[in-house]
Symmetry: C2
Subunit: 89 residues, 2 copies
DNA sequence: CTCTTGTTTCGTCGTTTGGCTAATTAGCCT
DNA sequence: AGGCTAATTAGCCAAACGACGAAACAAGAG
């Protein structure tokens, strides 16, 4: 729970999620979208993996990341029920 | 946006929000629910205020905190639309 | 085996966070 | 004014975070 919010609290990581929402991407493809060094991005990946928001599968030399939409969905629903919020949409 | 997630990423602050969901409470009343020292809680209050999740109004010597439900609501809706998630509830 | 590409680990630096105690402000009451 | 209570601010510490460069580690290609 804390992990998910911590993961979402960084703009870079939210952008990564935004990219993965459209389609799966390799670590290298994601890195091209950001000015930060690759090791820095790699750390962001592990934070997102830690929160179970993304998944990485190695195919040969490249690792493709996939968004774990259901986790994000469930986390937000959990918050809404905890705080008794009715989503408007 | 980041402020809201950062605020929500701490369990103590989520608990504070949980308490305020039931009814408004003074800083002292909130502090009674937690083992931390009052200044520590006060810092949490300011983080929550920074994120505009709560509001404090002074009445005499006491400050009563109120949950800003709409901000929380809007923040979560913003995330859902950004990530194109359909809430189940 | 060696080279190249893609990715992660390591070590470091500066900043932020969460906690504390001590000091300060703000308001009320004699 | 002086004292009391409620709450915040100030200052400090240890741990965690975000960033980097350099080095190490796959996995395939030549």
């Amino acid at each position: 729970m804390s992990d998910i919010f911590k993961a979402l609290s960084d703009p870079t990581r939210r952008s990564i999620i935004g990219l993965l929402r459209k389609r799966d991407l390799t670590a290298g493809e994601i890195a091209e979208h950001f000015p930060q060094a690759k090791p820095t991005l790699s750390k962001h990946f592990s934070v997102l993996k830690e929160a179970d928001l993304i998944q990485g599968t190695r195919v040969g030399t490249t690792i493709t990341y996939t968004l774990n939409v259901s986790v994000l969905e469930e986390a937000l629903c959990a918050v809404m029920t905890t705080f008794k919020i009715n989503p408007k949409q």
